[in-house]
Structures are given as C-alpha cells and as structure tokens.
Amino acid sequence: MTRAVITHGPRPDAAADVPDIDMTTWLAGLELPSPVLTASGCAAAGRELDQFFDITTIGAVVTKSIMLNPRSGRPTPRMAETPSGMLNSIGLQGPGIDAFLDKDLEWLRARGARAVVSIAGGSVDEYTRLASKLRHVTDVAAIEVNISCPNVEDRGQVFACDPVAAAEVITAVRRNTNPGIPVLAKLSPDVTDIVAIARSVVDAGADGLSMINTLLGMVIDTDTMRPALAGITGGLSGPAIRPVAVRCVYQVHAALPEVPILGMGGIRTGLDALEFVLAGASAVSVGTVTFHDPGAPARIARELAVALAERGFESFEQAIGHAHRAPDPAPASGGPVAGHGHTLDADAPDTAVEAGVEG
C-alpha cells in the first residue's frame, strides 16, 4: 500500500519511481502514514515549508520548541557554517505558548497537518505549566520535550545531562498532560552514558525518545579572533553529527528495544534515514538539511521508500532495528536480504555454515 507521502511528491516525475511499500509506522501508539518528520527548530511551525511540499503528507511537523512566555532569543550572530554542518545559538526565540496555540497550532490544524509540539522550559514548574496548557488542546499528535535547556534552579545545569533532573521534567509533563498523547523525551548526546539517561526518562513515563539534540560546539572567527557566535557556544547539527546520532540510537535501542525512538541528526538522504531505522528508530526527523533543501522532508521520504524496496523490505516496520539482528541466513523466502545484491558466502563464512546446519 502506497501512502500519501509518496503519491504527493512535488516532483511529478518522481512519484512513478516510488515503490509500492507500506511506509506506515507507529511511534508510541501514534500512527503515522510516513516515518519522516521535520525536526524541531528547523521547520518553524510548518507554514514556510508548505510552499515547497505538501506538509500534510509527511509524518508530522515537529514545531520549534515553545516556551511559556514570548522570547526574543539571543543576539546575532546566531549561526556559523561548519564542515557539513552548522552551529546555532538562536536561544529559543518564540511567541510563547498562548500565541503559539492561537496562531501556529491553529494553522497546522486548519491545514490538516499532524503536529508534534516541542516544549522547552527553564524549570520543572515551567514544563509543568506548558504541559497543562496542552492538556485540553486537540490536534496535538505528540509532545516532544526539549530537555536540553539550562535549569535556572540548578546553576544552569542542562536537564538532559542529569538523569534525575531529566526524569523530574518528564514526570511533570507526563502527569500534567493528556494521557492519550505520547510524550517523547529529546535526549542530548553530550552525556557520558546516554543509555542511563534514556532509562531514567523512560522510567519517569516517557513514551518514546527523540534523539539526538545538537552537540555543544564552538567556532572562533579567525579574522576577529573572537567567538563567531554572540552566544559563544552553540549547537552543532547537520551531517557532521550523523555518526554520533546513529551510535546513540543503536545503543539505546539495544538496551531498550521496546522503547520507540524518533531518530535524528544529520539526515540528508533516504539512505541516511535508513541508517537510523536499521539502528532502531521507528521514525526519523529531518532538520538542518531543510535549510539547504526546503523540499528535503518529502524527498527523503521518497528516497527511503526506494531504499527499503531495493533491500527487499515489504514494509517500513520490517526494517526497524534490522542492524541488531544476526545476519540473514540466505537471501530467500521473500524476506529482507542482507547486503543488497552480494552473496553471503564470500564475506561471512560462519553465517553460511550456520545456515547450512539449520537448513
């Protein structure tokens, strides 16, 4: 069954090339017709990107993290280009939750797009109030909790880097919002053991995990000989961080295979997205590449469908976590084939022997 995302591809010539494969996925109980979403902070609230592709066809629009009150963000310069990536220090500029609900979320609802609302706060209380504001709002597909914010009550220690503080935030959000709406905790890679943080927020009630947020980085302008960003440090994103992100997804899926993961970090092509899925992601978010190619979310969804079909998968779901499975015994019986087009006996003799014994 071919889903909407495929047939609505903006390039008319591309639709015909997309295979008939079921791209439906479930993210913590939420059914999505496409596994490709936008990433928070890279799509505003969807409206601008709707010029370039039909945003109702992608999995969901993950909105820019919203805080309780209007927020001006940081001074400029806020952004620096880095090799295959960028560093940003926007400072969560936004209109505040009330204006967001009235204007941005209302626009998404009227447009018929699925919305995953990202929230951010400076204290457990702020997250609690944000969750309460969303409690009776319909048309929220899920809540993504951005915990990569400094805790003003703990000397600016980032919630996501402390398993206890991270869990407190998730507990507060889970308790104060609609039990029917999945809560995803967005994890920072800037930790010693991401599995420990993942366990902590899952125990606190997170229905799923979004990973990864940006890595903390810095650029110094060699002309001015000062930091390139007004905020001094910034979040590194883009293809440069993809291997870190894939590693995080793989490790957490290995430790917590039942916990759904929304994978992100430098996805630029369908094959990049496939890496995350094979590592264990149930869906992916496409972020920084959207600055480079505003049509990227729709394009990547098409490319992912092609990549899955080429590898013999009959549905998207079959591929989730595939990299964790033992190599396939033989490219037979209609299942996914290992390695797409090369034989097993040449480079995996042990597997071939095992397969022979079983056969």
Partner: protein
C-alpha cells in the same frame, strides 16, 4: 528544468542552469535560468542559492538580491544576481561554467513598497547593494515617479551599475571613499543636497548596515519615508532558522526580533533600531533571558 513546489504564490525551488557569468568591476554577474521565479519577482525580492554541488559540505544557502529578470526568452525565465567573492560559497559560484546547475529558491522576502502617487524618489546604494535598484527604478518610473540615484563605494571598481543608473536616473551622484570616481566621501555626504534639490518623498536604500543607518537618519531629518533593504547573514532564507533577526519597532511601538528573510529584507528605515542591531535591546518582546539552544 526541474521545478519543485506546489504553491501558486510564495517561493518555489528550481534547478537553474548557468547561462553566463561575467565580471563587472570587482563583482561577478551570474545569469541563470530560473523557471517560474522571474514571473513572481518584484523589485527587492531575493533568491537563495545552494552552493557547492550535490554533495556539498556547505549546507547554508547564500542569499542574493535579484538584479534583473527576464520572464520569457530563448531560455525561458532567467534572472541575474551580483556577488563579490568573500568566502568559499561565492568562490564556488565564481567558478561556475555555462550549463552547470544551481539549485535556486525564490523569490524570497518582502519587496520594496511602491508609492501610490507619482512622487520623487531617491535611490541610494553602496557597493553591489545597487543590484536591486535598477528594477526598482523601472517600476517607479512606470508609475510616473521621478528617480534620482546616489551610488557609493570605497573605490571606483566597487561601484556597480553606473551605466544602468545613468540610463534610468534623472540625476546620478557618485561618491567614493578614495575619490577615484565622483565625489570623495560617503553617500550621506551628498544625500541631503539631493533630497533638498528633488524634494523627494521616499528614499530607497540598499547596502551595508552602517550606510543604511546613516541614510535612514538623513531621510527622516528631511521628512522623507525610507525603505531599507538590509544585508543580514542568513542560513535558510525562507523563515525557518531564525538566524537573520534584527530589532524592529512595530506599529504598536513594541520592538521585536524580526527575520530579515521573511519580514524583510526591506524595512522602514525609521523602524529599525540600527544602533542595536546585533543585540537584544532592552524592552524587546521576550527579552532577555538565558537559555538553551
């Protein structure tokens, strides 16, 4: 020509092809096929180009004012941009060859507001900030407006469009910092006299921030309305990244950090808090707090 995008209004994404690349003083003029973009373009719009090719490690788009457009011709719609090489992205653009492909998003931004009455207008530009001014001058003249032009640069080779300006302007005044062409000095040294002589109602300006600030001040002092096209560093050009903000006072008197790409690049000169560009001025909506990235 591949065109991506389903909207009838707003911006579209097209794969353009290089028709020509020529030098103009210290600048380069790039002519590209651009599908439906020229038909949608109005003076002051800009385009954002992807640089470095399909597997580029440079992810951020480069934004350029549209110098000229041709809706129909041998190549269909074409557009021209002007750029100076000042980084790896523009260096890549300067090495393009005929038939090379360039991914273009446009037209972007809010164009210049045009007067309803046939009033006198002065167009002021610094360096290749003059690029969007010639299409603007044509549009103004089509409305019966008198158009006078002031072009300035550090030196003669950094002036752009002097011949174009002579063609369209009732008068052209040139300034250079080193005196190599026109009068020695800055555009704002000559602007008061031009405003007085023409009794202009509107000043249009494009160039570096300090020049825009000075032009806006002179315009306000002469009771003229100013429209300034800013040059802010952008990452996406389409309004999603929030990089290109600057403090602008709204009709309600409240300062907000507005995006140059979608709320601009053209702003009322008397509304931008020029002194505080690069900061979050006190009293700005939502200012100031520490926080996450």
């Amino acid at each position: 020509m591949t065109t991506t995008g389903h909207s009838k209004s707003g911006a579209i994404q097209v794969t353009g092809e290089v028709i020509g690349l020529r030098r103009a003083g210290e600048y380069h003029v790039l002519t590209l096929t651009a599908g439906g973009i020229p038909d949608l373009t109005r003076p002051g719009h800009f385009v954002a180009l992807a640089v470095g090719g399909e597997h580029s490690s440079m992810l951020l788009r480069r934004a350029f004012s549209i110098y000229s457009v041709q809706s129909r011709g041998v190549y269909g719609g074409t557009l021209e941009i002007v750029f100076a090489v000042n980084g790896k992205g523009t260096e890549w653009l300067s090495r393009l060859h005929r038939h090379d492909q360039v991914d273009i998003v446009g037209p972007l931004g809010r164009p210049f507001a045009l007067p309803k009455e046939p009033v006198a207008c002065v167009l002021v530009a610094g360096g290749y900030g003059s690029a969007p001014m010639f299409a603007l001058a044509d549009a103004l003249r089509a409305r019966g407006c008198r158009v006078d032009v002031v072009l300035g640069a550090s030196t003669e080779s950094k002036l752009f469009g002097v011949l174009d300006a002579k063609r369209i302007a009732a008068s052209l005044t040139i300034t250079t910092d080193d005196g190599s062409a026109g009068e020695r000095g800055r555009v704002t040294d000559v602007l008061p006299a031009v405003l007085q002589r023409t009794d202009a109602d509107v000043v249009y300006a494009c160039g570096p921030m300090p020049m825009l600030q000075a032009v806006a001040k002179v315009a306000t002092e002469h009771g003229a309305y100013s429209q300034c096209a800013v040059e802010e560093s952008m990452a996406c050009g389409i309004g999603v990244c929030m990089s290109c903000v600057l403090p602008v006072v709204g009709d309600d008197g409240v300062t907000r950090m507005l995006r140059s790409c979608v709320d601009g690049p053209v702003f009322r000169g008397d509304r931008v808090r020029w002194d505080e560009v690069g900061t979050i001025p006190e009293g700005t909506l939502g200012a100031p707090v520490s926080g996450g990235h």
